[in-house]
Amino acid sequence: MSELALNNGLFSASATLIVLFSLLVVLARNPVRSTLLLIMSFLPTSLIYVMLKAPFVGILQILVYAGAIMMLFTFVVMMVNPRPEENELGHLPGADPAGTRRIELNVLGGLAIAGIPLIIMVRSAAANLPLGPEHPSEFGELSSISKLIFENPMENPLTVSFELISFLVLVGIIAAINFSRRDPSHKKGTP
Protein backbone atom coordinates (compact mmCIF):
# COMPACT_ATOMS: atom_id res chain seq x y z
CA MET A 1 0.00 0.00 0.00
CA SER A 2 1.38 3.39 -0.93
CA GLU A 3 2.00 6.06 1.67
CA LEU A 4 -0.76 8.25 0.24
CA ALA A 5 -3.42 5.54 0.51
CA LEU A 6 -2.22 4.71 4.03
CA ASN A 7 -2.49 8.37 5.02
CA ASN A 8 -5.97 8.64 3.55
CA GLY A 9 -7.14 5.50 5.32
CA LEU A 10 -5.68 6.55 8.68
CA PHE A 11 -7.15 10.02 8.32
CA SER A 12 -10.61 8.66 7.47
CA ALA A 13 -10.62 6.25 10.39
CA SER A 14 -9.32 8.86 12.85
CA ALA A 15 -11.75 11.55 11.66
CA THR A 16 -14.69 9.18 12.04
CA LEU A 17 -13.55 8.24 15.55
CA ILE A 18 -13.04 11.88 16.56
CA VAL A 19 -16.51 12.94 15.41
CA LEU A 20 -18.11 9.86 16.97
CA PHE A 21 -16.42 10.31 20.35
CA SER A 22 -17.09 14.06 20.41
CA LEU A 23 -20.78 13.42 19.74
CA LEU A 24 -20.86 10.82 22.52
CA VAL A 25 -19.18 13.30 24.91
CA VAL A 26 -21.92 15.80 24.29
CA LEU A 27 -24.79 13.29 24.35
CA ALA A 28 -23.72 10.98 27.23
CA ARG A 29 -25.84 11.36 30.34
CA ASN A 30 -23.16 10.26 32.79
CA PRO A 31 -20.44 12.94 33.30
CA VAL A 32 -17.73 10.40 34.18
CA ARG A 33 -18.41 8.63 30.90
CA SER A 34 -18.24 11.96 29.02
CA THR A 35 -14.85 12.75 30.52
CA LEU A 36 -13.40 9.36 29.61
CA LEU A 37 -14.88 9.59 26.08
CA LEU A 38 -13.22 12.98 25.60
CA ILE A 39 -9.87 11.39 26.50
CA MET A 40 -10.65 8.70 23.91
CA SER A 41 -11.31 11.39 21.30
CA PHE A 42 -7.89 12.95 21.98
CA LEU A 43 -6.04 9.77 20.98
CA PRO A 44 -7.01 9.79 17.24
CA THR A 45 -6.48 13.57 17.26
CA SER A 46 -2.89 13.10 18.29
CA LEU A 47 -2.48 10.44 15.58
CA ILE A 48 -3.58 13.01 12.96
CA TYR A 49 -1.15 15.53 14.49
CA VAL A 50 1.68 13.07 13.93
CA MET A 51 0.51 12.64 10.32
CA LEU A 52 0.50 16.45 9.95
CA LYS A 53 4.25 16.43 10.78
CA ALA A 54 3.65 17.76 14.29
CA PRO A 55 4.99 14.94 16.51
CA PHE A 56 5.75 17.21 19.47
CA VAL A 57 2.22 18.63 19.40
CA GLY A 58 0.84 15.08 19.29
CA ILE A 59 2.85 14.22 22.42
CA LEU A 60 1.62 17.40 24.12
CA GLN A 61 -1.95 16.48 23.27
CA ILE A 62 -1.57 13.18 25.13
CA LEU A 63 0.57 14.42 28.02
CA VAL A 64 -1.01 17.78 28.80
CA TYR A 65 -4.57 17.47 27.52
CA ALA A 66 -5.41 13.82 28.13
CA GLY A 67 -3.01 13.42 31.04
CA ALA A 68 -3.30 16.61 33.05
CA ILE A 69 -6.37 18.64 32.13
CA MET A 70 -8.75 15.73 31.69
CA MET A 71 -7.56 14.12 34.93
CA LEU A 72 -8.45 17.40 36.66
CA PHE A 73 -11.91 17.12 35.14
CA THR A 74 -12.25 13.49 36.23
CA PHE A 75 -11.34 14.34 39.83
CA VAL A 76 -13.79 17.24 39.95
CA VAL A 77 -16.58 15.11 38.48
CA MET A 78 -15.90 12.50 41.15
CA MET A 79 -15.85 15.12 43.93
CA VAL A 80 -18.99 16.92 42.80
CA ASN A 81 -20.68 13.68 41.72
CA PRO A 82 -23.59 15.10 39.72
CA ARG A 83 -26.36 12.56 39.41
CA PRO A 84 -26.70 11.40 35.79
CA GLU A 85 -30.43 12.00 35.57
CA GLU A 86 -30.07 15.62 36.61
CA ASN A 87 -27.90 16.54 33.68
CA GLU A 88 -30.45 16.79 30.95
CA LEU A 89 -32.77 19.70 30.54
CA GLY A 90 -35.93 17.60 30.95
CA HIS A 91 -35.21 16.67 34.56
CA LEU A 92 -35.60 20.12 35.98
CA PRO A 93 -38.35 20.21 38.57
CA GLY A 94 -41.45 21.17 36.64
CA ALA A 95 -39.93 20.81 33.17
CA ASP A 96 -41.83 18.93 30.50
CA PRO A 97 -39.92 16.55 28.21
CA ALA A 98 -41.60 17.93 25.08
CA GLY A 99 -40.25 21.42 25.81
CA THR A 100 -36.78 19.97 26.32
CA ARG A 101 -36.94 18.17 23.00
CA ARG A 102 -38.03 21.42 21.39
CA ILE A 103 -35.07 23.32 22.87
CA GLU A 104 -32.64 20.66 21.66
CA LEU A 105 -34.17 20.65 18.18
CA ASN A 106 -34.02 24.45 18.05
CA VAL A 107 -30.33 24.44 18.98
CA LEU A 108 -29.67 21.70 16.41
CA GLY A 109 -31.52 23.66 13.71
CA GLY A 110 -29.67 26.87 14.53
CA LEU A 111 -26.31 25.13 14.41
CA ALA A 112 -27.24 23.48 11.08
CA ILE A 113 -28.28 26.84 9.59
CA ALA A 114 -25.00 28.38 10.73
CA GLY A 115 -22.80 25.34 10.16
CA ILE A 116 -23.65 23.99 6.72
CA PRO A 117 -22.89 27.27 4.86
CA LEU A 118 -19.75 27.56 6.99
CA ILE A 119 -18.58 24.10 5.94
CA ILE A 120 -19.35 24.83 2.25
CA MET A 121 -17.48 28.15 2.45
CA VAL A 122 -14.47 26.61 4.19
CA ARG A 123 -14.27 23.77 1.67
CA SER A 124 -14.49 26.01 -1.39
CA ALA A 125 -11.97 28.46 0.08
CA ALA A 126 -9.53 25.71 1.06
CA ALA A 127 -9.68 24.13 -2.41
CA ASN A 128 -8.43 27.33 -4.04
CA LEU A 129 -5.58 28.09 -1.66
CA PRO A 130 -2.05 27.52 -2.99
CA LEU A 131 -0.14 24.86 -1.07
CA GLY A 132 2.80 25.97 1.02
CA PRO A 133 6.48 25.23 0.43
CA GLU A 134 8.12 21.92 1.30
CA HIS A 135 8.87 21.28 4.95
CA PRO A 136 12.44 21.50 6.19
CA SER A 137 13.79 18.20 7.46
CA GLU A 138 13.38 19.00 11.18
CA PHE A 139 9.90 20.51 10.84
CA GLY A 140 7.72 20.01 13.91
CA GLU A 141 10.41 18.52 16.11
CA LEU A 142 11.27 19.93 19.51
CA SER A 143 14.62 21.40 18.38
CA SER A 144 12.99 23.33 15.56
CA ILE A 145 10.11 24.64 17.70
CA SER A 146 12.45 25.74 20.49
CA LYS A 147 14.61 27.48 17.91
CA LEU A 148 11.53 29.34 16.69
CA ILE A 149 10.49 30.46 20.17
CA PHE A 150 13.79 31.01 21.98
CA GLU A 151 16.19 32.02 19.22
CA ASN A 152 17.63 35.50 19.88
CA PRO A 153 15.43 36.00 22.97
CA MET A 154 16.07 39.72 23.47
CA GLU A 155 14.44 40.64 20.16
CA ASN A 156 12.03 37.76 19.63
CA PRO A 157 8.42 38.66 20.52
CA LEU A 158 7.46 34.97 20.74
CA THR A 159 9.79 34.51 23.73
CA VAL A 160 8.04 37.21 25.74
CA SER A 161 4.54 35.99 24.96
CA PHE A 162 5.53 32.40 25.72
CA GLU A 163 6.85 33.43 29.13
CA LEU A 164 3.70 35.47 29.77
CA ILE A 165 1.68 32.25 29.43
CA SER A 166 3.46 30.96 32.54
CA PHE A 167 2.18 34.03 34.40
CA LEU A 168 -1.32 33.22 33.16
CA VAL A 169 -1.08 29.67 34.53
CA LEU A 170 0.32 31.07 37.82
CA VAL A 171 -2.68 33.42 38.10
CA GLY A 172 -4.95 30.43 37.42
CA ILE A 173 -3.33 28.42 40.22
CA ILE A 174 -3.57 31.29 42.70
CA ALA A 175 -7.21 31.88 41.77
CA ALA A 176 -8.06 28.19 42.17
CA ILE A 177 -6.36 28.03 45.61
CA ASN A 178 -8.14 31.20 46.65
CA PHE A 179 -11.49 29.76 45.59
CA SER A 180 -11.01 26.57 47.52
CA ARG A 181 -9.96 28.29 50.78
CA ARG A 182 -12.67 28.15 53.41
CA ASP A 183 -13.99 31.23 55.12
CA PRO A 184 -12.48 31.26 58.70
CA SER A 185 -15.83 32.25 60.20
CA HIS A 186 -17.46 29.22 58.54
CA LYS A 187 -19.16 26.89 61.05
CA LYS A 188 -18.50 23.21 60.56
CA GLY A 189 -21.53 21.20 59.51
CA THR A 190 -23.58 24.05 58.07
CA PRO A 191 -23.88 24.18 54.29
Binding site: I69, I119, P130, L131
Partner: protein
Protein backbone atom coordinates in the same frame (compact mmCIF):
# COMPACT_ATOMS: atom_id res chain seq x y z
CA UNK B 1 -12.78 7.37 2.25
CA UNK B 2 -11.66 10.95 2.80
CA UNK B 3 -8.54 12.38 1.19
CA UNK B 4 -5.94 13.78 3.55
CA UNK B 5 -6.01 17.42 2.45
CA UNK B 6 -6.67 20.89 3.85
CA UNK B 7 -10.39 20.96 2.95
CA UNK B 8 -11.12 17.73 4.81
CA UNK B 9 -9.02 18.71 7.83
CA UNK B 10 -10.84 22.05 8.13
CA UNK B 11 -14.21 20.33 7.68
CA UNK B 12 -13.36 17.99 10.54
CA UNK B 13 -12.36 20.94 12.69
CA UNK B 14 -15.63 22.80 11.92
CA UNK B 15 -17.69 19.68 12.70
CA UNK B 16 -15.93 19.18 16.06
CA UNK B 17 -16.45 22.88 16.81
CA UNK B 18 -20.19 22.65 16.07
CA UNK B 19 -20.57 19.49 18.17
CA UNK B 20 -18.94 21.35 21.07
CA UNK B 21 -21.29 24.30 20.54
CA UNK B 22 -24.28 21.95 20.71
CA UNK B 23 -23.08 20.64 24.06
CA UNK B 24 -22.42 24.18 25.27
CA UNK B 25 -26.02 25.18 24.56
CA UNK B 26 -27.91 22.09 25.73
CA UNK B 27 -26.13 20.69 28.81
CA UNK B 28 -27.08 21.84 32.29
CA UNK B 29 -24.20 21.04 34.60
CA UNK B 30 -21.32 23.52 34.83
CA UNK B 31 -18.76 20.72 34.54
CA UNK B 32 -20.35 19.50 31.31
CA UNK B 33 -20.34 23.04 29.91
CA UNK B 34 -16.60 23.30 30.63
CA UNK B 35 -16.10 19.90 28.99
CA UNK B 36 -17.92 21.15 25.87
CA UNK B 37 -15.59 24.16 25.80
CA UNK B 38 -12.69 21.69 25.69
CA UNK B 39 -14.28 20.03 22.64
CA UNK B 40 -14.58 23.45 20.95
CA UNK B 41 -10.93 24.25 21.73
CA UNK B 42 -9.90 20.88 20.33
CA UNK B 43 -11.52 21.75 17.00
CA UNK B 44 -9.80 25.12 16.89
CA UNK B 45 -6.39 23.61 17.72
CA UNK B 46 -6.87 21.11 14.93
CA UNK B 47 -7.41 23.89 12.39
CA UNK B 48 -4.24 25.66 13.60
CA UNK B 49 -2.07 22.60 13.04
CA UNK B 50 -3.58 21.79 9.64
CA UNK B 51 -3.14 25.37 8.38
CA UNK B 52 0.47 25.23 9.49
CA UNK B 53 1.08 21.94 7.72
CA UNK B 54 -0.60 22.68 4.40
CA UNK B 55 -0.07 26.41 3.89
CA UNK B 56 2.94 27.55 5.95
CA UNK B 57 5.47 24.78 5.76
CA UNK B 58 8.66 26.56 6.80
CA UNK B 59 8.19 27.67 10.44
CA UNK B 60 6.02 26.26 13.26
CA UNK B 61 3.89 29.28 14.12
CA UNK B 62 0.76 27.10 14.28
CA UNK B 63 2.43 24.79 16.79
CA UNK B 64 3.36 27.84 18.84
CA UNK B 65 -0.27 29.04 18.82
CA UNK B 66 -1.34 25.55 19.87
CA UNK B 67 0.93 25.78 22.92
CA UNK B 68 -0.53 29.18 23.84
CA UNK B 69 -4.00 27.71 23.44
CA UNK B 70 -3.40 24.77 25.78
CA UNK B 71 -1.92 27.17 28.33
CA UNK B 72 -5.11 29.20 28.22
CA UNK B 73 -7.20 26.01 28.33
CA UNK B 74 -5.36 24.79 31.43
CA UNK B 75 -5.85 28.10 33.25
CA UNK B 76 -9.50 28.20 32.22
CA UNK B 77 -10.10 24.64 33.41
CA UNK B 78 -8.44 25.36 36.78
CA UNK B 79 -10.47 28.52 37.41
CA UNK B 80 -13.74 27.13 36.04
CA UNK B 81 -13.54 23.88 38.01
CA UNK B 82 -12.58 25.82 41.16
CA UNK B 83 -15.69 27.92 40.69
CA UNK B 84 -17.79 24.79 40.15
CA UNK B 85 -16.50 23.29 43.42
CA UNK B 86 -17.23 26.47 45.39
CA UNK B 87 -20.65 26.62 43.82
CA UNK B 88 -21.34 23.01 44.76
CA UNK B 89 -20.17 23.63 48.34
CA UNK B 90 -22.54 26.55 48.74
CA UNK B 91 -25.64 25.34 46.94
CA UNK B 92 -25.29 21.52 46.54
CA UNK B 93 -26.20 22.00 42.88
CA UNK B 94 -24.10 22.92 39.85
CA UNK B 95 -26.82 23.42 37.27
CA UNK B 96 -26.80 26.59 35.24
CA UNK B 97 -30.40 27.32 36.27
CA UNK B 98 -29.21 27.60 39.87
CA UNK B 99 -26.30 29.74 38.70
CA UNK B 100 -28.66 32.16 37.00
CA UNK B 101 -30.52 32.70 40.30
CA UNK B 102 -27.51 33.73 42.40
CA UNK B 103 -29.21 36.91 43.65
CA UNK B 104 -31.84 34.85 45.50
CA UNK B 105 -29.25 33.74 48.06
CA UNK B 106 -28.82 30.32 49.62
CA UNK B 107 -31.59 27.77 49.42
Amino acid sequence: MFDFNLANCLTLSVIVFLVGCYGLLTRRSLVMILLSIEVVLNGVNFSLISFNHFLWGTREFGHYLYMLSIGVAAAEAAIGLGMAIVFFRNYRDISRERASRLSEGES
